[in-house]
Amino acid sequence: MTALRNAIYPLITLAIVVALWAFFTRPGGLPSYLLPPPGAVFSALYAGLADGSYWPHIRFTLLSTLSGYIIGSAAAVVVGILIAESETFEKFVYPLIVAVQSMPKVALAPLILVWFGFGITSKIVLVALICFFPLLVNTIVGIRRADPELVEMCRSFNRSRAFIFLNVKLPSAASSIFAGLQIGIVLALIGAVVGEFIASEQGLGYLIGSATVNMSVSTMFAGVLILSAMGMAGSSLMRFIHRRVVFWEGARQSMPSGEV
């Protein structure tokens, strides 16, 4: 009930924004080559979806985003675990990773296109690279933040290092890892679109780019709307999985911890 009521407030804001948008783009208002009226955007969106011309682009962007996201995230968790658990690995690798992290990955996009071609591979690589670092840092921090008293307790009961890792450190890091996954899904979409902007013959980034050449502002908006919907769907899905998997944390907040 409360959740439903809380969802109303941002919708009211959205309605006001759309109303203002409609007001300023009314006939005699802003020229439609700068800002098309909401009706034109929605009809472009509807037409593109109905005649099927948007679907290959959506499919391409979805495919490169998801593949890159899965590859980048899996790599980040594995490398993060290695760095958090192995001092040798940390010493040899972590400083370099920190150095690379501060570099804007988008600047590497042209290079990646040269190396991996103009097809989907280069997009997947760019996406993987972009969502790798935030999740890597979150994984390391999450594992390091495991309660030392829980680790000590397990040691006192003669539990192995593998046991402690699987049953204390990894679950402790779960929340932080999911936070990284949630940031990652949005970054992944950015990576895919940037890759498509630079050189591609498909994808929503390409759709927006080619619409720019034609000055078809309605199509540009339609592409942006589809991308926003994808981003929102992805991060809501991650939030949902997060709450399901890390059930003990939400519960702890909602349950007052009283004494008997």
Binding site: D147, E149, L150, E152, M153, C154, R155, S156, F157, N158, R159, F163, N167, V168, P171, A174, F247, W248, E249, A251, R252, M255, S257, G258, E259, V260
Partner: protein, 280 residues
């Protein structure tokens, strides 16, 4: 040390059997002994079946002593032996309860009790039956499937006690297990701990900074003080068992508690003179 009030017989007469736990000339300092010394020249022996309370102010090295006895840390010098074998690392015949419940939030109460044996799947039917028996013993049968965030502080600490008992350890180590609980729960759990201990007659080493709690539970109260800490007093508590809430109001109880309190005042005075500005 004190004029011991006459009471019922103690668990074990001194000299009857070799002590189970022998700590001799123990020293511990951080940084492999190069840093500040926490314990020095600490010697202590505990007879089989005895309940010994280690009493000391906060920061007196009590918890460090327990970490050394449980094998979680190695002493800088000196030795600790259990049944004649030196303690070199954690062992399954030692069970430990911590100040905080330290339960895994993502595991059920039953799995937390089964932790020393792996969890339900790995533990085997015998350990599972034992876990259920221990949960009944601490009055938590109904909460077996619950998660730690659904428990009160007292219930969580009961889970910790059940977990300690899972491998049927012969030496119990308790590090201020009731310090974070309210007074009522604390009394209840002290009495429960006593009855569990009386049933199994295990050897227990119980650290506390509460004088009444130490006198209530222990056969002997060992007082740690100073920096580095050493044993400054070793006082028998010959009160009859089982002790009850009434014990707390008996004259004998109060005499012992009063003597201990006086002793702490004296020590605090000395320490204040010896180490100006030193931690209390």
């Amino acid at each position: 040390m004190t004029s011991a009030p006459s009471g019922a017989a103690l668990a074990a007469a001194p000299g009857a059997a070799p002590p189970r736990l022998v700590i001799s000339d123990l020293a511990f300092g951080y940084g492999g002994g190069k840093g500040e010394a926490v314990l020095q020249d600490l010697s202590l022996s505990v007879e089989d079946g005895a309940f010994v309370a280690v009493l000391g102010p906060s920061g007196s090295g009590k918890s460090t002593l327990l970490r050394l006895v449980s094998g979680l840390a190695a002493p800088t010098s000196g030795s600790i032996a259990l049944d004649g074998t030196p303690i070199t690392g954690p062992r399954s015949d030692i069970g430990m309860v911590f100040q905080k419940p330290t339960l895994l939030p993502w595991r059920t109460v039953r799995d937390n009790v089964l932790l020393p044996a792996g969890f339900a799947r790995a533990a085997g039917p015998k350990a599972r039956a034992e876990a259920d028996r221990l949960l009944a013993l601490v009055g938590l049968s109904k909460a077996a499937g619950a998660y730690p965030f659904q428990l009160s502080g007292g219930m969580a600490q009961r889970v910790g006690i059940a977990r300690m008992l899972l491998h049927d350890p012969t030496l119990l180590i308790l590090d201020e297990p009731f310090a974070a609980l309210d007074a009522m729960t604390r009394e209840d759990l002290s009495l429960e701990l006593q009855s569990i201990w009386m049933r199994g007659r295990k050897t227990a080493l119980f650290v506390t900074h509460s004088i009444p709690e130490a006198v209530m539970l222990a056969d002997r109260v060992v007082v740690l003080a100073g920096r580095p800490a050493r044993v400054v007093a070793d006082i028998p508590v010959p009160l009859p068992r089982p002790r009850t809430i009434e014990t707390l109001t008996s004259a004998d109880f109060n005499t012992i508690a009063y003597d201990l309190r006086q002793m702490f005042r004296d020590i605090a005075g000395h320490a204040g003179a010896a180490i100006p500005g030193g931690p209390a």
